[in-house]
Amino acid sequence: MTAAGTITETAVTLTIDGRPVEVAEGSTIHAACVEAGIDTPTLCWAENLTPVNVCRVCVVELEGSRALVPSCSRPADDGMVVQTDTARVRHSRRMVLEFLGSGVDLSQAEDLQRWMEAYGADPDRYADEDHPVERVEEPVKVQDELYIRDYSKCVLCYKCVEACGDDAQHTFAIAVAGRGFDARISTEFDVTLPDSACVYCGNCVGVCPTGALQFKSEYDLRQADEWRPEDQSVTRTVCSYCGVGCNLELHVQDERIVKVTSPADHSVTSGHLCIKGRFGWQYVHGE
């Protein structure tokens, strides 16, 4: 009485950094790198979203390919020869990280900071005294009690757009607008979120890698200098509302829930929640 849909998986073997790696057909090069235990930086990739391969920080060298290829989206083929740590690869990764750091505020992007250090990225070398460089600088949008949006921290990874759109919520309240360096994540004509199609599922916030999108509960604590991740516990439980059985991760600081996320690898939610699961916890504290 269990799964009838068993599919026989064909394996492919590729060579990564000189070592043979076997993965199921249809896996990406990135998945193969994970399989091989090779630490590969990613930014726009997430396990619960379709790869858009826009950030280019995961590029690798593929034999026979003129340009580097994005490992997050390129399927692994039998016989591929991949290098992940050549000078070219390191250069591209370093430059991508530098470029990002030169244009936006990455102070809350912990993963990126770690990668920048690892690749020796120096985002400050583009500007000098009489030569300021263009940065994304916008006031923080605080338009309701649930979210804030701080686009001076946005790296345009498209994750929020994907989560709001085809990959999960299908609400399409936000999209990329404008072009080039002026491209921004925006509602139609930049109307406020309460005036937009937004249904406050928080799935955009859930996938944001830089703190550009934040729950207001977190933002308020950060503003008050009381956000202390090291003092937080995370407890997995099940939402108290409808009968779908969504898994919640309750982030608790000082015996109070400070935010709610969902595990991306759980079959029920794939990391996504609705407004009730995401924000409906406040009654626990008698609010």
Partner: protein
């Protein structure tokens, strides 16, 4: 249905469906994350029909919306059955092998022609025919439903009418096809699993089965009552008859949530003693003689809940309960001690182990396994069993694994009890909004930017005839009473129909209007069909 009460399929199977009938369910708002699974199917090319009196936000994702009249689901389902048979699209081999009562069913639905059903439901015959053919010919098909099917006076007939369609086409008992009722509360499935049903022990074992009862009596060391108890609606009838004089209410707010709520409140206030155990000072708690403050089950205590796909999952304490609030287990244990039974101080895990020793469908779910996995779906009979993605595989086994064939049921179209009249010419149906939940005791705790309150949705044509405008405060009356509400013009519902949510009883006591006619077999009230009148609050000033 045919066996234990639970959805036959998994969410993963819904994702893989080729055809989905979303019947009486606005999952987009009421079960948003389940709807993500539906959307995956739709994105992968599944065809979806939405059957609902309203063109809900869910229905807008469907290839076709069929806006049937409230309470005509059986007419529609039986007409589909007739069409499937007439077109020769039923699965004869499956019917012969695994079912009984087909001939009677076929003879009965013979009179449910497409044209007749079109007249009853208001949906064009061609659309019914198309949906019947699509359902019957799809490789994998799912019927998903919620309270649009069950909050009727003939709820059980509605459900079995849908089951008939699955039996007719073999869309049950195999991976990918099935029937999924979506549960409204996070553990209504688990409550049923644990025996919170008048005639069942944990694991859907009958209380009037001597052998079963003997097993429980042996384990509990006491004699157990073999007479099925009363469900909620019968309890209120018993209160009315003076037979039920004391009530212990745990985590329920009937003083707000019952249909014809004023009548319910009167009965509750007439009890000898009302004890309420809750995390909120609900309206019911305010009426109680004793209030036992409880802890929040999903964030302040450990245990399990069961989802709509029969997945048993752990809930865990993340914060301590406030003030004098205590865990339900401790409260009940202390109460038992005061009543002279010392049950000790069992941990959630110890209670779970006792339960799974008695309930075969849970036996394989050890606490460790529940901790380590993302939940296990029942039945799971042993610790090496992976759990069950779908139910009723026996329907396809050579010997039916010893089961009786699944019976077709004969169901009759019966319109809502409350007919429209000149005095009450509009149909009122009720439902849920995305950001709110039932009577709002939990969801009222956060500031939703998209909350609009309990307005009454009216088709613009009807509103024009009534002379009422968007946002206007009006008086809505049913045979049971009247409430003031704001009008919200809503082109997505047909003329003659009105709709409201009931999330804000302090502001709008919408359940004053709803009908407490109920299904004797399920105990659910006909929330979905009342007859109402809308009148302007301020009569036009007389011409001078």
């Amino acid at each position: 249905m045919f066996g234990a009460g639970g959805g036959t399929s998994s969410y993963a199977e819904v994702e893989a469906a080729d055809l989905i009938l979303l019947w009486g369910s606005n999952a987009r708002e009421a079960h948003p994350i389940f709807f993500h699974h539906v959307l995956k199917a739709v994105a992968d090319g599944a065809r979806m029909y939405a059957i609902d009196p309203r063109r809900t936000s869910s229905a807008k994702f469907a290839d076709r919306w069929l806006g049937l009249s409230v309470g005509t689901d059986i007419a529609l389902a039986n007409a589909m059955g007739r069409e499937i048979i007439a077109a020769g699209l039923h699965d004869r081999d499956f019917i012969d092998h695994a079912t009984s009562g087909f001939d009677a069913y076929a003879a009965h639905v013979e009179s449910y022609t497409l044209d007749w059903a079109a007249e009853q439901t208001g949906v064009p015959a061609e659309a019914i025919r198309e949906m019947a053919h699509a359902y019957a010919t799809a490789p994998n098909a799912q019927i998903l439903w919620t309270l649009g099917i069950t909050e009727h006076h003939n709820a059980v007939d509605n459900v079995v009418s849908l089951c008939n369609l699955a039996l007719l086409t073999g869309h049950v008992g195999r991976w990918g096809s099935g029937l999924c009722p979506l549960r409204g509360q996070n553990n209504v499935q688990g409550g049923g699993d644990m025996g919170a049903i008048p005639n069942k022990f944990p694991g859907f074992q009958d209380v009037d089965d001597d052998e079963v009862r003997a097993k429980f009596e042996a384990a509990y060391g006491t004699e157990l009552n073999g007479v099925p108890g009363k469900h909620l609606t019968l309890m209120f009838e018993a209160m009315e008859a003076g037979e039920l004089r004391a009530c212990y209410v745990i985590g329920e707010n009937p003083a707000d949530s019952e249909a014809d709520v004023e009548h319910a409140r009167k009965l509750l206030s007439g009890l000898d003693i009302l004890v309420v155990q809750d995390i909120f000072m609900t309206r019911t708690a305010e009426m109680a003689d004793v209030v036992l403050p409880a802890s929040v089950a999903w964030a302040e205590s450990d245990g399990t809940v069961t989802s709509s796909e029969r997945r048993v999952q752990r809930v865990r304490a993340a914060v301590p309960p406030p003030g004098q609030a205590r865990h339900d287990i401790d409260i009940i244990g202390d109460l038992a001690r005061r009543l002279g039974c010392d049950w000790g101080h069992p941990s959630p895990e110890e209670l779970w182990d006792e339960m799974r020793a008695l309930s075969p469908m849970h036996t394989g779910m050890s606490w460790e396994r529940l901790e380590a996995t993302g939940g296990i779906q029942w039945p799971c009979g042993s610790e090496d069993h992976p759990g069950s993605e779908f139910l009723h595989g026996w329907l396809w086994a050579d010997d039916l694994e010893g089961h009786d064939p699944a019976p077709f049921s004969v169901t009759h179209h019966a319109p809502p009890k409350e007919q429209l009249s000149d005095e009450f010419p509009l149909r009122l149906t009720t439902g849920r909004a995305l950001d709110s939940y039932n009577t709002g005791v939990q969801s009222g705790g956060y500031a939703s930017p998209i909350r609009y309150g309990d307005a009454i949705d009216v088709n613009p044509t009807d509103a024009a005839e009534l002379g009422v405008a968007d946002g206007e405060r009006v008086l809505v009356s049913s045979p049971r009473g009247s409430v003031e509400m704001d009008v919200r013009l809503q082109p997505d519902i047909p003329t003659g129909l009105t709709f409201t949510t009931f999330h804000f009883p302090e502001l709008v006591d919408a359940n004053i209007l709803t009908n407490d006619e109920w299904d004797p077999r399920s105990g659910t009230s006909e929330f979905k069909a009342a007859a109402v009148r809308i009148s302007k609050l301020d009569p036009e000033p007389a011409p001078v």
